[in-house]
């Protein structure tokens, strides 16, 4: 059993080697070509392999649809048909009337309330809730903690402009502070929500929307988790950005994961 498997692996390796050789030849040939011909035509594969950017546009479009349609949810406006009587719990033996209907405030929709759309692209200028002293301490701490990791993990020459693990931790720590979650939510293991955030240079949130998930419209718990994540983002604005990292951090997908909530 395991012998077979090993054999397969070996044969794979061989074909990989061959492939590598082939690629190497092709690579060198390509380089030569570029030098000779310049590279305009070769930009084509570059476009193909940049689907991330395309996706961003889709995401924000879709999620804007969500937000604008949100107030149309069925619970927008209700009006009870009947006057709900006060709870009248005294069961003093009445002459048993034929089933007195209990006051049912059956809510029925009344004047369709014009939903106030939720375009949040105004940068809400807010004083940060946390003292900057604490923050700078935390920055240093986080830097210290993650320095060794980063140097091992990323050797690229562009390190200063890419978002490092410590940068991400630094951002995450700030949003975490603003995020409150109800630990009793049902099915807490299934309530990870993603929020798309665009930042200004000063760290204020310029745009926030919810990465589309159909559950937003069908699952109250999911909707509430999503709203709480969005509130966290907005309450936190502006956040502190690691210096020189704005370009790398201006476009974020925040993945709020409540599973390991401290109970």
């Amino acid at each position: 059993m395991s012998g077979n498997y090993d054999y397969k692996l070996v044969s794979n390796n061989i074909s990989d080697l061959r492939l590598g050789l082939l690629c190497s030849i092709v690579f060198h040939f390509t380089c030569l070509l570029i030098v000779v011909l310049g590279f305009p035509q070769l930009l084509v594969p570059l476009e193909i392999s940049e689907p991330v950017i395309v996706e961003i546009a889709q995401l924000s479009e879709k999620s804007q649809q969500i937000t604008s349609s949100e107030p149309k949810l069925p619970d927008s406006t209700v009006e009870p048909e009947q006057a709900p009587k006060p709870s009248e719990p005294v069961p003093t033996p009445k002459p048993s009337e034929p089933e007195q209907p209990i006051p049912v405030p059956t809510p029925k929709p009344s004047e369709p309330e014009q939903p106030i759309p939720v375009p949040t692209p105004k940068p809400p200028k807010l004083t940060p809730a946390n003292g900057s002293d604490n923050l700078s301490k935390m920055i240093n701490k986080l830097r210290d903690n993650t320095k060794s990791n980063t140097s091992k993990m990323e050797n690229s020459g562009n390190l200063s402009e890419q978002a490092s693990m410590s940068d991400k931790d630094f951002i995450a720590a700030q949003f975490r502070k603003c995020w409150s979650f109800d630990p009793g939510s049902k099915d807490i293991n299934n309530l990870v929500v993603q929020i798309h955030v665009l930042l200004n240079k000063d760290g204020s949130v310029t745009h926030v929307d919810i990465v589309e998930d159909p559950r937003y419209h069908s699952d109250n718990f999911y909707r509430s988790a999503t709203d709480s994540a969005r509130r966290a983002v907005l309450t936190c604005s502006p956040i502190n950005l690691p210096s020189g990292k704005y370009e790398a951090l201006k476009d974020l997908i925040l993945r709020f994961d409540p599973r390991d909530i401290v109970r």
Partner: protein, 438 residues
């Protein structure tokens, strides 16, 4: 496949050599959220009724008290409000509310309708997202104000937490007074916040373990009427009560099925206690357990397909689950100590119980397969948990040591936080939470 690989390789090579770094979206994981009650601003409601300012004046206070009691909200003192209530009627000035860190805002209006009723309207705003989360209105008579307030509190709670509310509910319990040697116990019914308290039975009749039907209009309980402990059914609308069944021994520990058509209870006879089910229409009786042990405390799963109960067949009280026909009786509790009074959560995911271990009692929950046990409350004697209809909060009874023994009702959140006494005029035990009032 090879082609793709080739393409990728080319891309890596090229981008590495000639192209500036491309900033894609950065994904950041955020975990370990805080558990803070949400700051919420609940303003006075504008009153335009022709019946005076006092009409339904308490509505915001009742909403506020409900939400605060849940432990998930922290109402902000109205002294901190900046925007006036009057200008708020047009449109919230969100910065005014952000400054005082109100994450949600509630305002409303109380007006008269043409037919002399009162109309209560409210809005719920998400302050930081600057949008309206909810707008509803209700009409009522003057004495319906409290109830409307509970209904509004439920709506707010539901919109923000995702849970169904539980404020428009009642609690039935056993009111206790007098010497421990001859305790006077009466059924009493009150709103979930302790208001509208009423006694349902006479002092001379010993009663225990009331439970609501799914419509909240019937109650089943154990009465020692004429020194013959039997299960009774009380119709709250008419006040009529009836003896359930004609059993040859003591019946007790009754509970309704989720559809209200059946009832399960225990019968103790010849030293054995077994579980029976009664069809409330036909009054036919089915025996579900059949052994020489104590099998009691049956409670239906919310889908009505299973029953959890306690049995000492292993030598000590433990929890078991069986099918509705009594088949496949499976033990689910294996922790150390005794387990008793199981109650299936209306949400279906958990079973609450009383645990007795090392001279202490606990209220706890476990998943319906017995895993994930968590203890939420403990004491010299705590027992008899009952779920709020949303499966989020538990009511239970806490008795302190003699001689100054007191018995009081408490509620605790499913997370173990926010334990609070439920205030009753006298001592209390055996609380049972009603479903949402229909």
């Amino acid at each position: 496949m090879k082609f793709i690989f080739f393409k990728n390789l080319c891309f890596v090579a090229i981008s590495g050599m000639f192209v500036m770094p491309v900033y894609a979206q950065v994904q950041i994981d955020i975990n370990k959220p805080n558990i803070h009650p949400m700051p919420i601003a609940i303003t006075r409601f504008i009153n335009t009724t022709n019946q005076g300012n006092q009409t339904c004046k308490n509505v915001p206070d009742v909403i506020s008290a409900d939400l605060e009691r849940s432990g998930l909200f922290k109402p902000i003192d109205s002294k901190a409000f900046i925007q006036t209530i009057e200008s708020l009627q047009n449109q919230p000035n969100f910065p005014d509310w952000k400054v005082i860190n109100a994450q949600a805002l509630v305002n409303g209006q109380i007006s008269s309708t043409q037919d002399g009723q009162i109309r209560v309207e409210f809005n719920l705003w998400d302050v930081f997202a600057e949008n309206q989360m909810l707008k509803q209105s209700y009409t009522t008579t003057t004495n319906g104000c409290r109830r409307i307030a509970h209904i509004i509190a439920d709506a707010i709670y539901t919109r923000i937490t995702g849970e169904t509310g539980y404020f428009d509910t009642q609690i039935i319990y056993v009111s206790e007074t007098g010497s421990q040697l001859k305790r006077i116990k009466r059924l009493a019914l009150m709103d979930q916040d302790g208001e509208n308290h009423n006694f349902l039975t006479q002092p001379q009749e010993l009663v225990l373990t009331p439970r609501f039907s799914p419509t909240a209009r019937e109650v089943t309980y154990l009465s020692f009427f004429r020194n013959n402990p039997q299960v009774y059914l009380l119709h709250l609308n008419s006040g009529r009560r009836e003896l359930l069944g004609n059993f040859p021994g003591m019946t007790f520990a009754p509970r309704f099925s989720p559809d209200g058509n059946k009832m399960t209870m225990s019968l103790a006879k010849n030293g054995n206690t077994n579980i029976y089910e009664m069809d409330l229409k036909t009054r036919n009786i089915t025996r579900l357990t059949d052994n020489k042990w104590i099998n009691t405390g049956p409670s239906y799963a919310p889908d009505g397909k299973k029953i959890v109960f306690e049995s000492d067949r292993s030598g000590s009280q433990q929890l078991y689950v069986m099918n509705i026909d009594g088949s496949e009786q499976t033990r689910i509790s294996f922790g150390s100590g005794r387990y008793a009074t199981p109650v299936w959560s209306p949400r279906g995911d958990l079973i609450a119980f009383t645990k007795h271990k090392d001279r202490e009692f606990f209220i706890g929950v476990m998943r319906s397969d017995g895993s994930g046990e968590r203890l939420l409350a403990k004491g010299y004697l705590v027992e008899g948990p009952s779920w709020a209809p949303n499966g989020r909060v538990l009511a239970f009874c806490r008795q302190t040591k003699s001689p100054s023994s007191q018995s009081k009702l408490f509620s605790v959140d499913l997370t173990g936080f926010n334990e609070k006494q439920i205030i009753t005029p006298l001592d209390g035990s055996d609380p049972a939470w009603s479903p949402l009032i229909p």
